[in-house]
Symmetry: C2
Subunit: 386 residues, 2 copies
């Protein structure tokens, strides 16, 4: 798809010198700071057609085109490209790797100049707001005053909410998708299991595995397997796998992957460790756990959005049990109470949380419709000849 | 409570010699076979007041009284005792450790006489039906022809269903609670995560850890943590823990157990490895995965219960997402189709799957009412002077 939509990776980097540090919510300093990002489409003369896409937990800047590491389509390739809802003929799409990530933006695998070795756990624990602060530095650097839209799902949706709260005047439209205004107890619990799985692996070596030339692959794979279950729905698992056996007619009465679901999960674990850094997994899960937008506004989520002029489109999926519709409703209620403009769509889907990454006709139609209306309201020209 | 209800552990064992082997569904032989069990109350002269309690995944024979290893009340101590629903003044309660378990019944930690070392993974993979076959050997040994009742929750409920299907004439009444007629894809997935967590621990040593004098404690703790989340409900977690911090006013911006839910989960993992054998965990989870009662009857669950004279009481809990009410409804539909006598109660509770182990007034009233009516129908005398 990448080749078809012409969105080749452009491997962009911006380096902020020590004089322009990122000061974290935890009171630490990240400097120098590198932000890795991709862009698709072109910034127009008015600089009013920029859309920032925010990635989820294990996503990265490669939203469209072919991912240079996995060789697979970017995480939102189905949505981003010429004629697609995030239309690269009309919009300038920016997608960054979050701070703490592992695809080029400064994170725990980066070299700590103070010690000349990888940060490991010496990297500051970052928050969603820190991620957004870093993105704002990039947007400043690109000379963009106001983003036409900020969009993303899951942890990406948290960033969208944080953008709208921290920089309301810089966000014309916002699409928080399959997300929540705070991480629930159950969500923290699942993240903690994943972290403990990583840390239980002796190859993790208290976070210093890179220097030892090893990686906690088994622990990270277990973490991914547990998390992956939460991205799907019971119905989707039953439909796709049920109790079907893998390449055999009868059970083996062993601990082999008799069932297709076992084989599938093991593959998900193995594929993940090929592309993701274990320490980054700790940091991004922790950032989600700390997310509680209302807490920054005296416990009132409505205050976070008070008087906001941003147009919101909140989207949830019926079978998402990780960030269920009730979480999106809480966002919508707060936006209404804050007096913001908001449309809310719950998409019927049996695909669970992962639905926000998949082709779902109603989801696509909603995204396209919202962006077109907002673009027209903002006076962004349609692409010539299309 | 144990001391109060006088149900002290009696540490009973029955040893079946090699001439009385347990032949497993996988075609293997377990011989000699030891079954560890507890009894509470007394068998009456007519031998018609015996109730078999079947334990869940990580339960054991210590249903009532004080558990000799943990020092805590047995898993159903709230329900079992004089004047309690499983009234030890009226009924003779039997509770066995399942085959493959680790509290005295032959399992992977037992010595394999052929090699003079622990079985480890050489132990036969057992099924729910194998567990029930072993229990039937014990019931024969005790000279009991017909059980007044077989009851249990979760994996215990699977054993109840298997008893009713395999030995309908030996089961007067049956209480399958918070269970399912087959393990779903999602349930297999969670079990597979747990097994992979155990196997990822280098101290597991391909199952030969006992000989090496080590135990895969970290892997087993991770497995337990992941499983434990599935035993609770999102609502219960939110109510009990929410986003409350543990002994601190502000987050530490670290990977310490900042949140109470993290601290709680870590404790659950640590406590579990004190009392449970890692290989047994592999075997009991596998037994659940293989459970699909209808498959033994040409795909028809109704056929499993055709013409059954057993009285059934099926119980589910509203917030149980591991074995949701839809699973219980499938059992009820099959029982109805098979012409069996069945009552079905869905208990309103926010405590998730674990509700079947807790004091829930409606659950207790249902259990008491069902057992009393069935006991009266069977002509079991009330306890004298009560």
């Amino acid at each position: 798809m990448g080749a078809r939509n012409g969105a080749a990776s452009n491997g962009k980097r911006v380096h902020f010198p020590p004089e322009k540090p990122l000061v974290t919510d935890g009171g630490r300093v990240i400097a120098p700071l590198t932000i890795a990002y991709e862009t698709y489409g072109a910034l127009n003369e008015a600089k009013n057609n920029a859309i920032l896409l925010c990635h989820a937990l294990t996503g990265d800047q490669y939203a469209a085109g072919v991912h240079p590491v996995t060789g697979k389509p970017g995480w939102w390739d189905v949505l981003v490209g010429p004629g697609r809802p995030f239309d690269t003929n009309r919009f300038f799409i920016i997608s960054t790797n979050v701070v703490g990530g592992c695809m080029g933006t400064t994170g725990p695998a980066s070299i700590n100049l103070a010690t000349a070795r990888p940060f490991g756990l010496d990297f500051p624990v970052v928050t969603i707001r820190d991620m957004v602060r870093a993105q704002a530095m990039l947007i400043d650097h690109l000379g963009i005053e106001t983003l036409f839209c900020v969009a993303g799902g899951s942890m990406g949706g948290m960033q969208v909410l944080q953008w709208a709260a921290s920089y309301p005047e810089r966000v014309f439209a916002a699409m928080p998708i399959a997300t929540a205004p705070r991480h629930s107890s159950q969500n923290i619990a699942f993240h903690e299991v994943g972290r403990q799985a990583v840390m239980a692996d002796p190859d993790w070596r208290a976070g210093r595995y890179l220097e030892a030339g090893v990686r906690p692959e088994k622990g990270l794979a277990v973490a991914r397997m547990a998390a992956h279950i939460t991205y799907l729905s019971e119905q989707a698992l039953q439909r796709k796998f049920g109790r079907k056996l893998q390449d055999r007619a009868a059970p083996t009465f062993s601990f082999d992957a008799d069932f297709q679901i076992e084989s599938y999960l093991r593959y998900q674990g193995l594929a993940f460790v090929e592309r993701f850094d274990a320490n980054s997994y700790l940091f991004v899960t922790r950032a989600c756990d700390y997310f509680d937008l209302a807490a920054d506004y005296g416990g009132s989520l409505a205050l976070a959005f008070k008087g906001s002029k941003t147009r919101f489109c909140v989207i949830s999926f019926t079978s998402d049990w990780l960030y269920p519709t009730s979480d999106s409703r809480a966002i919508v209620h707060a936006l209404n109470a804050g007096g913001a403009s908001v449309s809310f769509v719950e998409i019927e889907s049996d695909k669970g949380h992962d639905a926000f990454l998949l082709y779902e006709p109603d989801f696509f139609a909603t995204t396209r419709g919202f962006l077109e209306a907002a673009a027209n309201a903002r006076g962004i020209a349609r692409a010539a000849g299309l």
